[in-house]
């Protein structure tokens, strides 16, 4: 095999490309675009499932528009859940409580009454009820991101 100086075999040229840090985002993007294109071709075969677990009707006239979930305030609302037996408070705004929260809610009138008590709760209210662990995970992501930003901002140098 005749090689020119500094070019190497095909394999080493591929190796050189993938070893460049700056190419990384580009490589990933190419992969992503390729998959998305395949996805675009399969799009007609994707059918919307009418029987949604978390149905949502959009009432554009409501003043609460994107967040409108129907029902009357301070009353029970019709909410569907995958496993209703795990959500004994289903239909109230706080459909699912962790065991600790349920203990607190049962024993004091001050806590566990609304999930809009912290930022993650709002996100969860926007999405759907009944998914307590998501609330925890989402809040944690926000918290971690905030902690990184704060640390970078506050470090001394």
């Amino acid at each position: 095999m005749k090689r020119r100086e500094g070019r190497g075999t095909r394999i080493s040229r591929i190796s050189r490309t993938i070893s460049e840090l700056e190419n990384l985002a580009g490589l990933y993007a190419v992969l992503f675009i390729a998959v998305t294109l395949i996805g675009a071709f399969t799009l007609p075969s994707l059918l919307y499932q009418e029987d949604q677990l978390y149905p949502k009707t959009i009432d554009t006239n409501s003043s609460l528009n994107p967040y409108e979930r129907g029902g009357t305030p301070f009353n029970t609302t019709e909410v569907r859940a995958q496993y209703p037996e795990n959500s004994p408070y289903l239909g109230y705004v706080t459909a699912y409580l962790t065991p600790v929260t349920r203990f607190i809610a049962d024993h004091t009138p001050y806590l566990g009454t609304t999930i809009v008590a912290h930022p993650g709760g709002i996100i969860d209210e926007i999405l759907y009820n009944t998914r307590g662990l998501d609330t925890v995970a989402e809040t944690s992501i926000l918290f971690v991101a905030f902690a990184i930003a704060a640390h970078l901002f506050r470090r001394e140098d």
């Binding site: 700056e22 985002a25 949604q52 995970a137 944690s140 992501i141 990184i148 640390h151």
Partner: protein, 222 residues
């Protein structure tokens, strides 16, 4: 009450933790991964960083890099968060919840090395950050496609033979995890791990490999 529809891949579930609609589970497989993640999370808590020795080549000179206590505290906190996110992802029984934990792993991985002042490490972390951000699109996109086409997110339903998960959603899920966990070509991760603070930096690798192992299980089962 809950029984995994497919037991030929990783055996039957050992036990189930119910959080409302999110029903987490342990099989022998995920329990093994969980234990491993737990082991290394504990390691992060109890061990102290090493002091990297750098040799000035061509002479006898060498010096050690020290990790300052303030930096160590932050790194340990981030590594711990990363460990917890990994633990969550290992036991999750819900696709959306899994993607959430995955993206949290992506963020904490950058957080672990973000406080360093070494230029090449920061450079790699920056590239990684870009990829992790792009990766959230396929990651959450896959959860969205799964919900739209099947009407549910619970793995207990999705693993059953009655529900067909579209191929594109599966590929998106793998692609998203690859981006968050930095699986494809590993350049950025390799450069990131040049940072001192071995137990914490190791967590980057632990989390992304475990995520990858978990997503393989999910994708084959779906």
């Amino acid at each position: 009450m809950f029984e995994l529809p497919v037991t030929t891949i990783e055996g039957p579930e050992i036990f189930v933790i119910e959080f409302g609609d999110i029903v987490n589970y342990f099989t022998v497989y995920t329990a093994a991964l969980f234990t491993f993640a737990l082991l290394f999370t504990i390691l992060v808590i109890i061990s102290r960083p090493e002091r990297q020795v750098d040799i000035a080549f061509g002479g006898d000179a060498f010096y050690t890099k020290d990790v300052t206590p303030a930096q160590m505290k932050f790194q340990r906190f981030m590594a711990l968060a990363c460990g917890l996110a990994t633990l969550g992802a290992m036991m999750s029984g819900d696709v959306f919840n899994f993607t959430l934990f995955t993206s949290m792993v992506g963020i904490t991985n950058i957080g672990i090395v973000a406080a360093y002042k070494y230029k090449h490490v920061l450079n790699a972390a920056f590239q990684y950050g870009i990829v992790a951000m792009i990766a959230t699109v396929p990651l959450f996109g896959s959860a969205a496609i799964i919900l739209a086409t099947t009407g549910t997110l619970s793995m207990w339903e999705l693993f059953g033979s009655t529900i067909a998960v579209p191929l594109i959603a599966k590929i998106f899920l793998v692609l998203g995890v690859m981006g968050e966990g930095m699986a494809p070509f590993y350049v950025a991760k390799a450069e990131i791990t040049r940072a001192p603070g071995a137990p914490y930096v190791l967590m980057i690798h632990v989390s992304s490999l475990l995520l990858f192992l978990r997503v393989v299980e999910i994708v084959i089962s779906m």
